[in-house]
Amino acid sequence: MPGAIYAEGLVKTFGNVRALDGVDLDVPEGTVLGLLGPNGAGKTTAVRCLTTLLRPDSGKAVVAGIDVLRNPNEVRRSIGLSGQFAAVDEYLTGRENLHMVGQLYQMRAKQAKARAVELLEQFNLTEAADRTTKTYSGGMRRRLDLAAALVVSPPVMFMDEPTTGLDPRNRQQLWEVIKQLVSGGTTLLLTTQYLEEADHLAHDICVVDHGKVIARGTSDQLKARTGGERVEVVVQEREHIATAGEVLRGFGKGETTVEEHTRRLTVPVTGGAKLLAEVIRELDTRGIGIDDIGLRRPTLDDVFLSLTGHLAEQRDEESGESGESGENGKNGKNAENGGTAATKGQKRKKEDAK
């Protein structure tokens, strides 16, 4: 039986850009799927196809048991969408926004009003309820946008990059809200370019690049594909690097890498925490001062890099790119942008390899 969100062979082209190139998805009821990929990978296009905003060229999509292409209006009754923008009317108050959305979900005016009060309470917006949302902070607008998507407590939710452009504190807060929501049994499809976010929120992850799903599995399964754990040491004194290297070679299962300028040494290991304790004792015995030491498991960043040959997002470009929320707008154009980002990423990887 197909899950609450099911897609088979979704294809969507814009001009000569294949934004979706045969995407299959299957999200079991009550779980969270993270759609992970860089800008222009096709995440937004996938969400737009599943939420009836865009008609795919070919393929099949079923949401909450309803065929998306045949009965789009039925699907709309069962879904909530929180897009890349905080899509709330800035000249309406928070309360008016929720009331309007409730009525457009075909609730009676009175119920829509009552539901607005409930949601404002739940999302900690009661105090700001009667201010126009123009005066809200970015985080508050996002919360209101999410509340608007939840007006009818839809069984299936879609969130397109819900935390893009938020500061870390607001991001944390929104994560908590999302976790709460999911614990109530809602099925959620979430797109993100933050690997940490997918790791944090999603049961299953689909890695998307150039309109294709290039890997899927749980966060742990994906990490396992990239390789095992490593011990990472930062020594206090530069002259200790050589000795520390010898120690690590004794414990390691592979080549030790050394970064001279940061005094960081890394070696692949098996044996986990017990082995880490041994490494610490040995370094201590030899009188090597340690600034930092730890057992490092591969992050989704590593996973992404090994799968695609480029990083999901260049950290130093983050501020610049999060401001550009254009994927929603002009998909075709952005797919090209994604292409250039990919080339940049590949260059980066070569530099890293040196």
């Binding site: 009836t52 897009g83 899509a87 457009l104 979900y105 075909q106």
Partner: protein, 285 residues
Amino acid sequence: MSAVTDTARAVVPGGSFGQSVRDSLVVAKRNLIRMTRIPEMVLFGIIQPVMFVVLFTYVFGGSMQIGDSTDPGVYKDFLMAGIFAQTVTFATAGSAAGIADDMQKGLVDRFRSLPMARGAVLTGRTVADLVQTSITLLVLAAVALIVGWRTGSAAPSNAGEILAGFGLLLLLGYAFTWIGALIGLSVRTPEAATSGGLIWLFPVTFVSNAFVDSSQMTPWLRHIAEWNPFSATVQACRELFGNPGVVQSDAWPMQHPVWASVIWSVLIIAVFRTLAVRKYRQADG
């Protein structure tokens, strides 16, 4: 999960026409609330035509010939129907900008993902714009009276005819907001929508009988002016208001201006509403 079933029960029963009206009113209400929050937009919408009234009356008034008369007082009475008609059509730019803004801010996406009537977002917008146009027209008529405009100055007129004239003006304005809706859905930014909604209105409103006596134009231009949908409403208003400058012409719309005005407006609504709603449904963002 009881909340889910509760809200499901609170849902209004379907019924497509009733739903369409209800949804349109919800959206219209939202746009009217916005108007009260941005009063300066309404204010600028009023100031501009008032400026036109004053400028045309006092700057052009002395050098215009209407029929055989060069009396500025006659031009004043001639002018107002033209300015009124131009004012209602300028609402097009507001509709276009409003819809383009909703597209850009992602609100159209939100609306399109809701189980609401398909045309309601656009209908709600055009209805709210009609309210704004009515307010503008009311203020403008008052200003016109202050500067000396009088109905029945060239031919007899009564209250019913005057109201019918304003009715035709509002119908024309409503029709033009649907053109604006289509423009708003077709451009990328509200700024583009504002200029895109406005520039073509200058030839449309000036190659007409609105500001000058079209019977004095070169024949080919006169022909265009007399068949211009906009001219029909102006001519109809002059007739209904009993104002001077009613064009004597063989062109059908000039001979039956009231009918021509209604037909043109209904035709524009039928064509542009269809196109705009189709565009809205397909809006790929």
